[in-house]
Amino acid sequence: MRPAIRVNELGKRFGDFVAVEGVTFDVEEGKITALLGPSGSGKSTVLRMIAGLEDPSSGEILLAGEDQTHVSVQDRKVGFVFQHYALFRHMTVSQNIAFGLTVRKEPRNKRVKRVNELLELVHLGPFGDRFPDQLSGGQRQRVALARALAPQPKVLLLDEPFGALDARVRQDLRRWLDELHRELGITSVLVTHDQEEALELAHKVVVMHEGKVEQIGSSEAIYNEPATPFVASFVGAANVIRGLVIGGRVQFGEQQLDGAEHLNDGDAAHAFVRPHDVLVSMERADGSSSPAVVEALSNLGWTSKVRLTLPDGQALTAQVPNDKLEGVTEGKRVFVDLRNAKVFAPGGRAVEPSDELAAV
């Protein structure tokens, strides 16, 4: 099937600064695709180039198979939702939503009908005559979404849409957006730095770092099969264990870990292990267990964060369900079993992994 959006070898330079380089990906019809990355990774610049708000320095953008690289913003017919809402502050909610229809000279009765439809859709029926500064952040962002949807765009582009909201509202709005998308099925591109948001909402995730694509895949693939050390550390929390490759395994202290078959003997290696893949027990389970000392224990509700030190001095964090703690307390000597380790050669384009959690 032809992709709704194709981004091909896209690049953007601001003077000497390379903001985006060689970015290529497809957005499937009717699906949510997330551009995930830290701030400064170029994800918003890519989105703005898709919308036509920014001119690419190289590469091309195809919407529904047609080259739109140099088509003006107003002719691309995309809906854009900004992080800080960008509502017209001198217009009422209804006037805001109607704007895209007004400038396209839609007849008045059609406009009124569509505005009422959208007010219902975003659950703001009674708020049509309010001004934006009389609404809460969450309500404003729903108005912004209704306004973007009003002219029936082919694609919806969302630039950190929940970034300016507090955690609780963000959760609600995220669930609501998910439901809305199931209802409307509009092709959407979501830019976010929140990996949880990307994993929850997106059918496909494009992970970006320093202007380049690190990995493209489903939520599961990004989380379970990270292609680069950066993805392993940015998407989800991960411990980084440093060691040497010996016979296809990573040797650290007296212990060994599987998964380094792709590296040469004697190379340095970084093994990424998720906190929930660190099993903690009071007894040695089998051959792959390593002794460790519990440094600190903190309760996070139904799980606990266990800070450990390995025999060679490296730090390790485990996340353990409280009912599996089985007498683990501070200062105890325990055994840890490290599962699903992802091993990479150090350096390259990865961020320098810290001894603590690389990302939390």
């Binding site: 708000l53 854009f80 400038v103």
Partner: protein
């Protein structure tokens, strides 16, 4: 027990003394600001009102019946109108360029905009004479085409525009800056053309700043005398503006009619500023309720 009461009393006493001293200082500062403004602004205004009306309504009607007074007001009106239209359109454009674009020499242009505030209008008049007067850089060019610049309306409008340039730019610039580009970008993605975006989104948002700038430009153009005096030659019934009439009236010992004209000019400016202040206040109250 006695110790506790004693120390408690002295502490609250110290606080009370401190509080009353603060109140005293604040009162003095308010009094100073009030008297500074009222003595320097209101007293001369009251003086001119009294001087204008003490001769009775006869002087007022006599003054406005005079052909040279009517012509002077008509001339001032033309100059002000052309000036305000020009500085509004070009000022809006310049403010836009200064806020939204980056180019070499931007800081220089930003500073240059203030020049008319720093230079005496008399100097501005002299510069115009040097450019357009006999033997000036452009005098041959216009003389060959039979166009009279100096001692005529064109040079009077030119110098008035020059001295009125900064106001619109300085009032609109910060508002544009504060507005940012988000709303304009939103309008573009919704299918608005750049022109629709300007008139439907940008302009309504900078409206009050623009009106303020226009009002200040109007006041400046109405009251200009130095530069206009030099370039116009102040020919009675021809190149004599309202302010130049006031100047001549005082010289010719016709103070009463001079005061009437001066008061009329001041009243127009003050009413203009007051009207904008009222509208602005009303609008912001509407938006909040």
């Amino acid at each position: 027990m006695g110790m506790t009461v004693g120390s408690g009393g002295s502490t609250s006493g110290a606080i009370r003394t401190h509080a009353s001293r603060t109140r005293l200082i604040r009162g003095l500062l308010i009094a100073l600001a009030l008297s500074y403004v009222s003595i320097l602004l209101l007293a001369p205004l009251a003086g001119i009102v009294w001087a204008a009306i003490k001769g009775g309504m006869d002087v007022v009607s006599e003054t406005f019946a005079r052909a040279d007074v009517r012509h002077a007001f008509w001339l001032t009106g033309i100059i002000t109108l052309v000036t305000v239209v020009t500085v509004t359109v070009l000022g809006m454009l310049t403010a836009w360029v200064l806020v939204r674009d980056d180019f070499p020499g931007k800081r220089f242009l930003n500073a240059l905009v203030e020049l008319p505030l720093a230079v005496s209008p008399v100097t501005v008049g002299l510069m115009a004479v040097l450019l357009f007067g006999t033997g000036g850089w452009f005098s041959d060019f216009f003389a060959a085409r039979g166009i009279q610049i100096i001692f005529a309306l064109p040079s009077m409008i030119l110098v008035t525009i020059f001295i009125s340039i900064p106001f619109v730019i300085r009032e609109v610039g910060p508002v544009l800056e504060e507005l940012g580009t988000n709303e304009e970008e939103a309008a573009l993605t919704l299918g608005a053309s750049p022109i629709q975006t300007f008139f439907r989104v940008t302009l309504p948002n900078v409206k009050w700043g623009l009106l303020y700038g226009m009002a200040l430009s109007t006041a400046r153009a109405l009251g200009e005398i130095g530069a206009v005096l030099i370039v116009s030659g102040s020919i009675q019934g021809q190149t004599e503006t309202a302010t130049l009439y006031v100047f001549r009236a005082l010289e010719e010992r016709q103070e009463a009619s001079g005061y009437v004209v001066a008061l009329t000019l001041a009243a127009i400016s003050i009413l203009l500023l007051a009207a904008i202040e009222t509208f602005k206040h009303r609008q912001s109250k509407e938006a909040r309720s």
